[in-house]
Symmetry: C2
Subunit: 326 residues, 2 copies
C-alpha cells in the first residue's frame, strides 16, 4: 500500500513537473485506422505517384534519415533543384499547418502538393489516380479500406496522412526527463534546456514538437542573409507584413534533420544556434552556452518510426507507364 | 510411430519429387553474419554513397518493388538515363556472376560498381570511404563488425553483399509444390510448367533461381530487334562469338520485375514469353500455351524479404557534403 502511494505520488509529481514546462512530451500516435495507415504506408513509398516512377514521398522525406533528405533543397523530377529545404515529416502532425509557408492546412492537403508539383513528383492527380486504379492490389485495398472504395485524391491523401500521423517520435531522453526520470539527461544538457528557456528560444520552439505552433519572422531582430528568394507566409496571405514569416520548424530529432533553416544553408547545430541567437534574439551565446544548448538539442532525438519496409502491389501491362524523360 | 513413418516417407517422396526436377526450391539464406548483414542493410539504403546524397542501392534495386525499379533502364546521377535494365537483386546470390554481362564475379565486386559509375551514383570509392569514415555511427559499427575495423571498399562491399545474400525469396507456391504440396498450384499452372520444361525454356532457366546459371545468346534462333546497343558478354571477354550473350535472368518473382529483357522493352509476361519462344526456341506458342506458361511464371513469386526499414547514423558537420549539381 505504501509503495503504491509513493508510486502515485511520483506520477503526480512527474505530471506536475512537465505540465509546468513549455515543452511537452511527444505522445505516441493514437486513434489510428490501421488498414488506412497500411495503405498510406504503401502510397508513401510508391514512386509510381511520380511521373518518372522514380520519386516517392520517402525520396525527400526519407524515414531512414529523420524524415528528410539531408540536402539543402530537394531534388525533384528531372533533377530539378527545389526551392526550399524539405521539412521533416516526423511529428508533422503537430504542426498548425504544412509547408514552410503553411499553405496546406493539414497533412492530407499537403500530401496532394508534391504529386502534382512539376519540380517535385511532376505527375497530375488525374494521372496518379489512373496509375493507382490500374493496379489490382490497390483496387482491392481501397475497397477494403474505404466504404466507397473510390480511388481519388481525397482517399489517396487521406491514407498518406493517416500513415504520417503515426510518424511521431516519443521516448527521447528529454521526454524521459520530462516524464520524471531525472537521470535521463546530464547536467550540461539540463543547463542547455534552462538556457533555451531563459534566453527566449522556447518562445517560438514550444509545445510537443518544440516548434510548428506558429509562424515567425526569420530575422526578427536582424535580417537573415540568404540567397533563397522565398518570402514565406506573405506568399500565401499576400500580406506584406508577413514577409519572411515561416512556420517555426520542430526541434525534435534536430540532430538528424540537418542542414538547417528554410534554405538549408547551415550544417551544424552550433552555427544554427548562434545564428538564431543573433537574428531572432539579438544576443550572442558564449561558446559554453552554445555547447549547452546543442547538448540539450541532441536529447530531443526520439524513437524513430519502426516498421517493415512495405511491399507494393505490382503494376500490370495496362498501368500508365512511367515517363522519366518526357 | 505410424504417423512419424508416414511423415518421413512423405518427405522422402517429396525430396525425390523435386530432386528429379530441373528447378529447385529456393533455400532460405544461411551462414549469415548478422552484424555484417545489418551494417550492409544500412549501406544498401544509404544515399550518401552517391555523390548527390540522393541515390542509394535501393533506388534502382527497390526492395518494395521486387528488387528492381520497374523502369526500362535506370535513372542515375543528374537524371542520367541508364544503358540497361536494372536486374533484380532478389536471389542474385544464385547468379554465376553479376551484371547482365557478368563483369563482376560476385555480389561484393558488383556492389562497388554503381558507387563509382558516373551515370549511376557518380561517387568515387575514395569519396564514399571519406563520407562513411566521417560518420561516428558507422565508425563504431565497422569496428564492431570487422576485426580490422577498417572503412574501405573491401569492407563496405562485403557488408552490402552479406545483406544481399539474405534477399532470397523462398516459399513461392511453385516451391511449395516442389516440396510436396500438390495443391499449391492449379492444373493450368502445372500444365504451364510442363510446357516450360518440354518446350525448352528450362534449358536456360533452371536451378534454384530459374536463371542466372549461364550466359546465353539473346536471339539464338532469330535476331532480337532492339535499339539498345549493349553487346553483352563480348564486351567483357572481347570474344566476338559472345556478342549478345547475356546472363540468363532469374524468373523468380518475375511478376514483380517488369519490364523485361536487358533493354526493358517488354511490359507483359505474355509478350515476353512469345518473344522468347520466337527468338530463342523458334516456335510460336498458342494463346492457350502462353497463358499456361504465364500462369506458371506467376507461381514463382516468393516471400519478399521482410525487415525493418533501417535507420542511418547521422552525418556530422565534417562529413563531405552531397553535391547533386556539380
Amino acid at each position: 500500500m505504501k509503495s503504491k502511494i509513493i508510486a502515485i505520488t511520483t506520477i503526480l509529481i512527474s505530471n506536475i513537473a512537465w505540465s509546468a514546462e513549455p515543452v511537452k512530451p511527444i505522445q505516441p500516435a493514437n486513434d489510428i485506422n490501421l488498414a488506412l495507415m497500411e495503405l498510406g504506408k504503401k502510397l508513401y513509398f510508391d514512386p509510381r505517384l511520380s511521373k518518372s516512377g522514380f520519386i516517392s514521398c520517402n525520396s525527400c522525406h526519407n524515414l531512414s534519415m529523420g524524415g528528410t533528405d539531408n540536402l539543402p533543397t530537394s531534388i525533384g523530377h528531372a533533377w530539378h533543384k527545389g526551392p526550399i529545404n524539405a521539412p521533416t515529416v516526423l511529428n508533422s502532425s503537430f504542426n498548425i499547418a504544412q509547408f514552410w509557408d503553411g499553405r496546406a492546412k493539414d497533412l492530407k492537403e499537403q500530401a496532394g502538393g508534391p504529386i502534382a508539383n512539376p519540380g517535385e513528383m511532376a505527375s497530375t492527380h488525374e494521372l496518379a489516380i489512373n496509375v493507382i486504379s490500374s493496379i489490382p492490389g490497390y483496387v482491392s485495398e481501397f475497397k477494403l479500406v474505404f466504404d466507397n472504395g473510390n480511388i481519388n485524391t481525397e482517399n489517396i491523401t487521406s491514407a498518406i496522412a493517416e500513415f504520417e500521423k503515426t510518424l511521431v517520435t516519443p521516448g527521447s531522453r528529454f521526454d524521459q526527463w520530462l516524464l520524471g526520470d531525472k537521470n535521463a539527461i546530464s547536467e550540461k544538457e539540463l543547463a542547455g534546456y534552462q538556457l533555451f528557456k531563459n534566453s527566449g528560444c522556447v518562445g517560438c520552439h514550444n509545445g510537443e514538437a518544440l516548434g510548428g505552433t506558429s509562424f515567425q519572422k526569420m530575422g526578427l531582430i536582424k535580417k537573415y542573409q540568404t540567397s533563397n528568394p522565398a518570402i514565406g507566409r506573405a506568399a500565401v496571405s499576400n500580406n506584406d507584413s508577413e514577409e519572411y514569416f515561416f512556420k517555426v520548424p520542430t526541434l525534435r530529432n534536430i540532430e538528424l534533420t540537418y542542414p538547417y533553416f528554410h534554405d538549408g544553408a547551415v550544417d551544424s547545430l552550433e552555427k544554427a544556434v548562434n545564428v538564431m541567437g543573433e537574428i531572432q534574439l539579438g544576443r550572442e551565446f558564449s561558446q559554453e552556452q552554445t555547447e549547452q544548448i546543442v547538448a540539450f538539442l541532441k536529447t530531443l532525438t526520439g524513437e524513430q518510426p519502426s516498421f517493415d519496409l512495405p511491399q507494393l502491389p505490382p503494376s500490370v501491362p495496362s498501368t500508365p507507364k512511367p515517363e522519366p524523360y518526357k
